[in-house]
Amino acid sequence: MIQFILLISRQGKTRLKKWFVPCPERDQFRTIKEVSSLILSRSPKVCNFLEWRDYKLCYKRYASLFFIACVEGNDNELLALETVHHFVECLDRYFGNVCELDLIFNFHKAYYILDEILISGELQESSKRAVLHHISEQDAMMQENEQAKRKG
């Protein structure tokens, strides 16, 4: 199972963090620091996996962002990259050619999308269309509420 997902900018700023195992806040930030310095210093030519403690960090760079999935020792590393890519494609379709700024200003939406893809560190939906459909329906519910508020 995936232990946590991180989005780190090339400058080392956190754009998204999601833990699926209990981890105190202090340790989360320490981990982010450690992991990002490890990954940012890796050459682009080497493989996308890095052994870290008892886990494996599977990461991929998309434009200015590093998407990192930390998986267990006997998990399929290639599939972890596919999962990351699945998430990226969903973001891309939702935002339409997603860029880092989209994820900064709409960080909560990135979380909503992730919550439709993963639960408890396991994939729940492999259809991008389904993910986007559910997200847009929920967005619509938000809008209705806002409009109702404005009218009221």
Partner: protein
């Protein structure tokens, strides 16, 4: 007035310095706090959203936790959504206030909107604590049968979390799994597979029961493998239908097929189909092939299928894609115990990976390499590993050294090769070779008298070259002390048959250098301790350097390191003339316990010219310990022949005299581990316990007049302790105390002792013939006069007889280990 989330983000991003950013955040946090305090409902969810951004930047946001709970309790969807997001980000399952949310989550799970259900399930699945899982298990179970696949899949993953968290309801959902596995919705099927995988991991005993779901799983997999793009466009990734579900099913099949021929048979075809039909040019296809190979290798696959798997693996290993090579090595690592043949076939490729630029690949390759070593390739593999040791990152070196040492110990073809290789390891990575391996090396050397001379010469010259590798210096110093006589004897020859001339002065020079420049400045006292022990040993081996040794030892007698100070003071005392008679005995070679050496001890020494000498023949205590004669009459023969069979190669006859303290035999510094000239079988002395490296006087200080008590016999509830005491006239009085720890008395108790010819023994009658239960009152006194004045150690053979519960018992025991001079 509260600003919008977007504005906050903008102003944080506009900050030019970290201090400015902190100020913006602090100001906003203060406003948010105030709003929370005033219970502002209108902007609560906006404030929590802002807090989430601030939280992501690493600022403390605990004060927002309660607000999340309030939002969740709201009946407006936007507030709920932000509330649940805040809950999963700002809290985790160990946060105490989490308990308060259980009821809201329960209500939302029963809400009639699927997205409200979804939010609640997602929160439970991501941060549900043990208590929450327990409280909501029933709701989850109900939702698993929901008509809505969106809810079903989420409920199934929540069930997975519950199984992980709560031990006693691991089987609660077993009845629901079947229908999940036959679901047509990929999301539900995926969740069902995850749930079952977890159940089987938590409790493998369910595997049998769930094997009946192999057919639907195989069917689902076949549908995906054979379906074209048109029918499953929704799930297509790079031309492959739902790689996630395929991989998940393959992993589940692996668990179900392991150790069952029947189950494996059911999946043979589909595995072959996946292995042949999956396109391996992109990551997506390879992720499935990788999973498939792992499954093929784990189950009882047909040989044809196995070949298919092995071929894929071979292709992976030769791939130019680093990721693929990495997983190939990871797979090999997992197959180590399954298929050595395959492993060996790829040996060269694997070793090539040790030189890769990528640390991840090097690390994987190294792990695989370790498991490749066997009897047949030990020499070439060790060579590769030594080459690697030369260039490896410091973080690898310790493990590398330890693995090489282990492999050498296990597979080395000869003692000589073993010693050569270990010296090489210490020359290359001496600062990474840990204490146990150094001790082991010393033991191997000590147990191989044929190679004493060879080893000490080799170490001497290696040390002369460089004193920077700690392990090399430490074992080198020890060997110089133990076997320095070989070095200065003038009889040693080099590899080209040229005589080697090393004078005692040269050896002292080298030790002097070690003292001045210890390999590791922080651990200098440890090095100095070893040097001082070597120096004192050299007193007898290089008598000409007596004064210089004394001078060098004096350097340490004021050391701040207590152990070193004590050690050097005692050694200096030993140099005084009153010890002249005993010194040679005290400073004799360390005894060797052959049993502790392991590995190559049964192997030839490895040099044709010295192979003729049976290994271990000259190592004194070996045969002594083994030869525990059963008859009292044998005792004298046994004791009279301690120096039988001096080894070839110029080892002085003193070798045979060593003895005692068998247990402490291997400690580098256990110099006085056994009293001199007391070849004591089973050494009951306190020395047996001394295993610490610095435990030098575990045998008791030689100067003590009243020796520590010795346990001579302990068996079946009877314990005999001897209290030897040296009298002024030179005789030794031994008080034997008999302790009966049983609840019944021992009657007809007889205690007899026999001693070697050079000792006269007088025995007083025992104070009683019955040993009362739980009592140690009965004693017996013996007095011994040693004709050699203590030059030959005191030895005893005991016969003990008694009746316990009407059963007569007759036992024998031998005791050496009396303090020196007795």
């Amino acid at each position: 007035m509260s600003i919008k989330l977007r504005e906050l983000i903008r102003s944080i991003r506009a900050s030019k310095t970290a201090a400015e950013e902190r100020a913006v955040v602090a100001r906003e946090c203060a406003l948010i706090r105030t709003a929370f305090k005033e219970d502002d409902n209108q902007f609560r969810h906006r404030n929590v959203a802002k807090l989430l951004f601030i939280h992501m930047m690493g600022y403390p946001t605990h004060f927002g936790q309660m607000e999340c709970l309030k939002l969740i309790a709201s009946n407006k969807f936007p507030e709920k959504r932000v509330g649940y997001l805040g809950l999963t980000q700002l809290l985790d399952e160990n946060t105490e206030v989490l308990m308060l949310v259980t009821n809201s989550v329960k209500n939302d799970m029963n809400h009639d909107n699927q997205y409200v259900n979804g939010l609640a399930l997602c929160a439970l699945g991501n941060i549900g604590s043990n208590e929450m899982c327990r409280a909501l298990a029933r709701e989850v179970e109900n939702l698993m049968s929901s008509g809505n696949p969106y809810v079903r899949k989420k409920a199934a993953l929540c069930a997975m979390r519950i199984v992980r968290k709560v031990d006693e309801i691991e089987d609660k959902f077993n009845g629901k799994i079947g229908q999940l596995l036959e679901d047509r919705n990929h999301g539900v099927l995926l969740a069902g597979c995850s749930l079952l995988t977890t159940v089987l991991e938590v409790n493998p005993s369910y595997v049998k029961e769930f094997r009946r779901y192999i057919p639907p799983l195989v069917r689902a997999l076949r549908n995906m493998v054979t379906s074209g793009y048109s029918s499953a466009a929704e799930y297509d990734v790079a031309g492959i239908t739902d790689p996630f579900l395929q991989a998940k099913i393959l992993r589940l099949l692996r668990i179900l097929g392991e150790r069952s021929v029947d189950a494996s048979d059911e999946m043979n075809d589909i595995l072959a189909q996946v292995a042949t039909n999956t396109e391996g040019t992109k990551n997506t296809g390879n992720s499935i092939l990788y999973e498939c190979v792992l499954t093929i290798m784990s189950i009882e696959a047909e040989s044809g299928l196995r070949v298919l798997g092995v071929n894929i693996l071979g292709r992976f290993l030769l791939s130019r894609d680093n990721n693929i090579r990495y997983v190939a090595l990871a797979t090999l690592q997992r197959m180590v115990n399954v298929d050595q043949q395959v492993m060996q076939r790829h040996r060269n490729t694997i070793i090539e990976c040790l030189k890769d630029a990528d640390i991840s690949i090097r690390k994987r390759a190294l792990d695989v390499t370790y498991s490749l070593v066997d009897d047949a390739n030990i020499k070439s593999m060790t060579k590769e590993l030594l080459n690697y040791l030369l260039v490896a990152e410091p973080e690898f070196k310790e493990e590398l050294c330890s693995k090489i040492c282990m492999a050498v110990e296990k597979f080395s073809p000869s003692r000589r090769w073993q010693i050569d290789t270990l010296i090489k390891v210490m020359c290359l990575g001496g600062n990474f070779v840990k204490e146990p391996q150094r001790e082991k090396f010393c033991r191997v050397v000590a147990a191989t008298p044929e190679l004493h001379s060879y080893t000490v010469i080799k170490l001497y010259f290696n040390m002369k070259e460089s004193l920077t590798q700690e392990a090399l210096v430490h074992v080198g110093v020890w060997c110089l002390g133990e076997f320095g006589d070989h070095l200065v004897s003038g009889r040693a020859v080099g590899p080209d048959d040229q005589p080697i001339h090393v004078t005692a002065g040269d050896v002292l020079d080298l030790l002097h250098d070690v003292v001045r420049k210890p390999p590791c400045a922080e651990k200098a006292p440890a090095t100095h301790c070893l040097v001082s022990a070597a120096l004192i040993k050299l007193v007898t081996r290089c008598p000409s350097e007596f004064d210089r040794i004394r001078k060098l030892l004096r350097r340490f007698d004021g050391s701040l390191h207590v152990d070193l100070q004590q050690r050097s003071c005692e050694f200096l005392e030993l140099l005084s003339s009153e010890w002249d008679a005993h010194r040679a005995g005290i400073l004799d070679r360390m005894p060797v316990n052959d049993k502790e050496i392991g590995g190559a001890e049964t192997r030839a020494v490895g040099d044709s010219t010295i192979d003729g000498v049976p290994s271990g023949a000259g190592s004194g205590p070996g045969p002594m310990i083994g030869g525990g004669a059963k008859d009292l009459l044998d005792l004298n023969d046994l004791l009279d022949g301690p120096s039988a069979g001096p080894p070839a190669g110029g080892v002085p006859p003193t070798t045979g005299g060593a003895g005692g303290g068998g247990g402490g035999g291997g400690d580098l510094l256990d110099l006085l581990g056994g009293p001199p000239s007391a070849p004591g079988p089973s050494a009951p002395g306190p020395a047996a316990g001394g295993d610490g490296l610095l435990d030098i006087f575990s045998g008791g200080a030689p100067a003590a007049a009243e020796a520590p008590p010795m346990v001579a016999y302990e068996k079946n509830g009877l314990k005999i302790t001897l209290f030897p005491r040296k009298e002024a006239d030179g005789s030794v009085v031994v008080l034997a105390r008999f302790a009966n720890s049983l609840s019944c008395p021992l009657t007809n108790f007889v205690f007899e002792a026999a001693v070697p010819k050079y000792v006269t023994l007088t025995m007083q009658p025992a104070t009683g013939q019955v040993l009362p239960p739980q009592n140690d009152m009965v004693t017996q006194t013996m007095s011994c006069v040693n004709a050699t004045g203590g030059e030959k150690g005191l030895l005893m053979k005991l016969r003990i007889g008694y009746v316990c519960n009407g059963t007569p018992v007759q036992e024998m025991a031998q005791i050496g280990g009396f303090p020196p001079g007795y």
